[in-house]
Symmetry: C2
Subunit: 209 residues, 2 copies
């Protein structure tokens, strides 16, 4: 399916946006759309959209545009949404709870297999039907469960240690909410959600304007 092997992170970061807009178009029963119209919706130029999508294949048709449903399906495939991913959440605080309650998980093929926390007051409780286990159970749990993605929602000072245990347990994808840049081997992917940094950016832009 892929035409080029070295696709820039900038293009990759735009793919989920295409996915979201195409899903919305489908909901609104739009069958086809030109790169110009799609660009106007997303706020990209038509040429950028054509360039981006050309990285992955030939989707559009001159004079017709894109078939919305086909393009949505193709982008879903490119994103890897045709597979299932087993996940764990580490840290059952506010962010961990918000993530556990995230309604799109199943739609995206994510299946929550375990939740771990160091706080004995939380262990034994259930979040979305999954029991919160003591963090010490995580290592043996990972030995018998193939986990693809872990969400790290623990305080900063514990994040690297948790990450090391996850990596040793075979986890290859980390969605990290702790305000720290994790050190991982090359074959492990980390995607950060650094809320503080986002907020500081907003404050800066507000302050300057």
């Amino acid at each position: 399916m892929e035409k080029k092997k070295n696709i820039s992170m900038a293009v990759i970061k735009r793919l989920p946006k295409y996915h979201r807009y195409l899903q919305e178009l489908m909901k609104n029963d739009v069958d086809r759309i030109s790169s110009k119209e799609l660009g106007e919706k997303i706020g990209f130029t038509a040429s950028q959209i054509r360039q981006d999508l050309n990285c992955f294949g030939d989707f559009g048709q001159q004079g017709y545009g894109y078939n919305v449903k086909d393009l949505y399906k193709q982008i879903s495939l490119i994103l890897g949404l045709n597979k299932d991913y087993k996940t764990v959440i580490v840290g059952a605080g506010n962010i961990g709870q918000a993530i556990a309650n995230y309604s799109r998980f199943a739609e995206l093929g994510l299946f929550l297999q375990g939740i771990f926390d160091a706080n004995p007051k939380l262990t034994g409780l259930r979040m979305m039907g999954t029991e919160i286990q003591d963090i010490d159970n995580m290592e043996p749990f990972l030995q018998v469960n193939d986990i693809d993605i872990a969400m790290i929602c623990v305080p900063r000072i514990n994040a690297q240690k948790v990450c090391d245990t996850l990596v040793a347990g075979g986890v290859k994808g980390i969605w990290n909410f702790a305000p720290v840049d994790l050190v991982v081997p090359e074959d492990v992917t980390v995607e950060n959600v650094h809320l503080s940094e986002s907020l500081l950016t907003l404050i800066y832009l507000l302050h300057k304007s």
Copy 2:
């Protein structure tokens, strides 16, 4: 303080990271650091660090490096952290609760003035000492309170309407957690935390590797 007026978003997005690393260095009683050492910590080149910081002023000293405390203070000033900002949270669901419980708010000069939600089951309850009010109270509330920053944590379909009310009420900064690109006037700043897009990026990178 600023040397150049047109600072790229890429540089701006790196400022919070400098702020975080410098804060950590201060906690570890590090008094001074070279751009090379700072670069190794953050994962940038020394030259990038010098270039970035030169956008805002002359901070380093040849042969000495940066005074950590001074640079931290300067970057705090650049980021606008010397001011106070009044905030509201709209949407008291999981994300709204996580945000309300965010411990660094006061440290960053953010003061929560109100929480609003459309769910009558939530109104009257308290989050971090602040009563959750009915969303219909927001418009009059904004008329008598000067709010700087609003956190939008409502479902996608309600986000633009909420945003319009906030903007009409004089709010100039929006921290948006709804998976939608908000339309705002030029003098309003939006910073998005699009969790789905972050997760889809992770799935893509995992799927490809």
